[in-house]
Symmetry: D2
Subunit: 365 residues, 4 copies
Amino acid sequence: MSGSTIGTLFRVTTFGESHGPAIGCIVDGCPPGLALSEADIQPELDRRRPGTSRHVTQRKEEDKVEILSGVFDGRTTGTPIGLVIRNTDQRSKDYANLLDTFRPGHADYTYHHKYGLRDPRGGGRASARLTAPAVGAAAIARKWLQVRYGTTFAGHLSQIGEIAIPFEGFEHVPNNPFFAANASDIARIEVYVDELRRAGDSCGARIDVVARGVPVGLGEPLYDKLDADIAHAMMGINAVKGVEIGAGFACVAQRGTTHGDELTPEGFAGNNAGGVLGGISTGQDITVSIAIKPTSSIRSPRRSIDLEGRASTVETLGRHDPCVGIRATPIAEAMLALVLMDHALRHRAQCGDVRVAQAPIPASR
Amino acid sequence: MSGSTIGTLFRVTTFGESHGPAIGCIVDGCPPGLALSEADIQPELDRRRPGTSRHVTQRKEEDKVEILSGVFDGRTTGTPIGLVIRNTDQRSKDYANLLDTFRPGHADYTYHHKYGLRDPRGGGRASARLTAPAVGAAAIARKWLQVRYGTTFAGHLSQIGEIAIPFEGFEHVPNNPFFAANASDIARIEVYVDELRRAGDSCGARIDVVARGVPVGLGEPLYDKLDADIAHAMMGINAVKGVEIGAGFACVAQRGTTHGDELTPEGFAGNNAGGVLGGISTGQDITVSIAIKPTSSIRSPRRSIDLEGRASTVETLGRHDPCVGIRATPIAEAMLALVLMDHALRHRAQCGDVRVAQAPIPASR
Amino acid sequence: MSGSTIGTLFRVTTFGESHGPAIGCIVDGCPPGLALSEADIQPELDRRRPGTSRHVTQRKEEDKVEILSGVFDGRTTGTPIGLVIRNTDQRSKDYANLLDTFRPGHADYTYHHKYGLRDPRGGGRASARLTAPAVGAAAIARKWLQVRYGTTFAGHLSQIGEIAIPFEGFEHVPNNPFFAANASDIARIEVYVDELRRAGDSCGARIDVVARGVPVGLGEPLYDKLDADIAHAMMGINAVKGVEIGAGFACVAQRGTTHGDELTPEGFAGNNAGGVLGGISTGQDITVSIAIKPTSSIRSPRRSIDLEGRASTVETLGRHDPCVGIRATPIAEAMLALVLMDHALRHRAQCGDVRVAQAPIPASR
Amino acid sequence: MSGSTIGTLFRVTTFGESHGPAIGCIVDGCPPGLALSEADIQPELDRRRPGTSRHVTQRKEEDKVEILSGVFDGRTTGTPIGLVIRNTDQRSKDYANLLDTFRPGHADYTYHHKYGLRDPRGGGRASARLTAPAVGAAAIARKWLQVRYGTTFAGHLSQIGEIAIPFEGFEHVPNNPFFAANASDIARIEVYVDELRRAGDSCGARIDVVARGVPVGLGEPLYDKLDADIAHAMMGINAVKGVEIGAGFACVAQRGTTHGDELTPEGFAGNNAGGVLGGISTGQDITVSIAIKPTSSIRSPRRSIDLEGRASTVETLGRHDPCVGIRATPIAEAMLALVLMDHALRHRAQCGDVRVAQAPIPASR
């Protein structure tokens, strides 16, 4: 297996490279009867699409999705849903020189040694472009979860490079090119990113995502805990180097009397757990944070080696995001949706007959 | 599936609860011909065993492992290896009262709502005791990786509660009850933990683990990246709320010119990547950090609700670790070993014929 | 993976060899709340047990099952159920000579070349003894399917060697040592098997099994069709060389006007389909037949080679069944139950919300 | 999961329906470095293609395959290979009436009750057209197995309806429209099929396939035996109702002294085993037979029910194969190739270091 499938029951298998003819995926296991058309998927792809501001790669991709199967008369039939997105703007010549060397911080070196050969055009399979099929698949999951349980997803950029971005409200997210939940600091961020780009450098980012309206009981005790599968999905996004659930690393310095969220008839008294206890959802918001490393493809000259192992220098031309985190918010939301969808199906498979006398307590966010 | 299997080719499936007759696992897919006996496994279990100092739970468990299958004449046969550990010290009466309420921060509430019933004795399946079978299975993986590739594993407690523990050398790890790579601060830590225990409280911890001598090329581009599978395995350990690879969350504030580890004929110039690029091992050390939350079972009274949803108070008696992180180092090493073992087999399945002209560059740690 | 797991959601993973300390399995994914104790499992193991008549191996095994986990207060908790059966009668010396040669028709040769070494005691992993854990696991599946859907299973020996055994009624099955649904021909079969045993030879058998009260809709279109998974499970039983669903090979000479079972308001007009159309259950009886080859371990001298590739002769001493088919009926029922259980959970995962206006038509057997 | 993936390491996931925009698959896990282009795949698709003689459906499909990913500079890169085949001749109006009733012997009824709705156009997902992606994927497996091990595949129609077709030589297979390994009986078969078609009826078929040059050691002891996985793959082909390995059902009446293939320094003295012992390949030819039921879509009027459960009559217009077995030979070869490819990778994952002193004995066919 080369591992290109995610999910156990709601299974997404992707194919494609940055500069091949097309990218896409097969979504296997979608419940039948869901109203679905390209119009449900395209908006999520548009959120992730490159070329929408000067702060991201200038590659022009329409990212137009086509549903090839699994839908009849406007409803899912329960059979696999094939999604395809044609690549249209492939300036492969920009990458010709990359075959002789390895970008520091990039997958060039590991692909070379694993496979003995690699597709250098736009990063091949390692391109962040490959998040598009997952975003498309997740649009289906999001719709089903919304219809079935009222679950919704939101995310925002909470830090870019050295700049922490105060949370002012999710309503601001669509109004700036960074997915920042903030209106006051946008100008400052724009200056920061402009300077980075001019300097031929890049920076990291932190993204926070939340799922609301999650049913209690999703997940497994061991090993496919809900949070373990979330960590797998998030760390599977390009450039992610860290994942936190709830209090995350802050819990190291907490006491048990602080961290353990008390229960009251009115609901949980806190959410340090991030909505997951013992690998299973509590019904509270699921809160996840990820760390995204700086883009490795940068104009600044870096030391590297050539195919013969001799010292060389590499400068990456082509079109790149100065901070891949800028477009990563919808991707992180998507991965969270895929995991919850999968566990929603897993849960009812095993526990579909469980009836608990008392209702869950209200969720605290 | 209730998800109790980890790994694709080197598959470990566990069973058991804290206070049932036994815990154990089946290790399926071990290569044949490996010299193996209980003496290879028991030392790792002993490192994780409870009751070895006053700072951990006083439960007395010998944790004696028995190999039930898969070994003939001292060598693995390639068939499943059954491991069983009998539970011997089960004071279940301590837990009788727990069935009527839910410990804050514990899986009680989620198990109740997921399954409609639960085994309250010692936390049942949610007990940290369930890490023992994985540690046993990982001892097999560690031996095979050591013999085949020279891969070794080490870990240490780098922070406990508010106390950051300076790294002074791995040689100190076996010489204190905390797995600290430190000799100077042990007395201070002991005082800290003694106070916590007396206060009926608990604290979190940070563990760092490293794998050395990892071959280049292990992992997959998507979604089963080496780091994604590591994140899954680590977040699957009880009480873990965060996972970092390499620079982890520190990469958010880094620049690309800093973060991207340059390559030179003498080796990598750094290891911000933590030994993984594009989901595939670089041949450098794999470095992982995890955040462990404070133990939820504490003596201090906490607000909770009863089975009828009415307000109640819970105080957890019984024997508990004031910081589950104290015994977590061998567990984190074990989970890392399981993931690397699995990917070593996956890699040679697909890429067993790959020959690369040039040798990998020397690893930088 | 060495493939020792069967099932996607109701997952059974086995371990053990014929003459090791124990055999057993882990059943992962059982729905919670099912009343369960060893008393539910032992009767099925007793049906399969050796040494119950002169026509089967004289090995004395009590096959006493112990539940190690997953049950609390007499009910399944939803966590993995560990089952273990200690081996008690291992006369391993009988097999010492087998390490130097290969029994014709036995797995000796293939294990040797696959693994480079093998456990020769009683056939090791290749022993039919390894069907016991699956029979134990299936007892759980049978109980759940019975309680939830009223599904029941029955099977019988329909041919042994050259003797076709007329079906006279399932009530006869427990009354003879062959699982024959027949009272008239038992004496004749006993003579036949006695002669075989005296001649140091063995023979094949045909087993028919049926599942009744199966809900409509279990299975998948591709590739995990219900019948494909049944074929996988049945061919996975030791010594099976053929599997048929419904009309089986007889359908080759049928016309479409004969084979296609017509539908009427009173039910299906036939069951050539064997209860499966397009990979999905029709609600009719699921009917399966399997062919079991003659036991390969026989006293008659056979030509073989030794470890150096030189011609040799092999005569198998030890205790063996002259026809492994004699004890195979409960095994075939068990494998069918495991597949149906798995697909019952899979079905409600994906299609748990499907409501069809009209009721299924009555099943025709 | 709706089960649309086959294989553990060489994984093929398909999508598509008979009359949707396209069908296709993703092949994940192909070893890197294999020379590959559409020219390697198209010939196998052409063998299976409809409309090539008057004896099969007259639907005109070019079945032109496009590789969308996983190949760079004419070689596989190790990343997923996306294959797509556009549907071009969809006369969906022919099927409009089918939504109100259920064809006897067809998946109409089971899809309706499983999913609550169905795509009736050309059988939707249940169409034999969905074998095309697997045939495409298998062309890749066949090439790799040929290059790596010299493995080859052949198959032929050995019976159609009542007519057993004597084996005269594989060289005849491409020279008649039936994949018969026979030159003498073709005219007789043509008359038979013409009469069936005119009568508005259909018939069953038997296909024999063989893999030659298979390495010894592929497969697993339990449950993913090589023959079990072959049975799964074969029973997963549309309309298959029976699978045999080697002697198959004939072994029921065999004695152990006949069935067990003796070993000699010159090779095996027979191949009743069909190349598999204990679930693992012997190095001999792997021989498989399958039974294919008569086409359920026939012109002859049949009794059925409508959506309200009332008696109705159904006559299937549209274009259909009078015997789906006529085009099934390349499909059966393909499924066998997929299973062997998967197990070749699985074997070297676990046993890549095994060295056996003596060479395997020569294979007997």
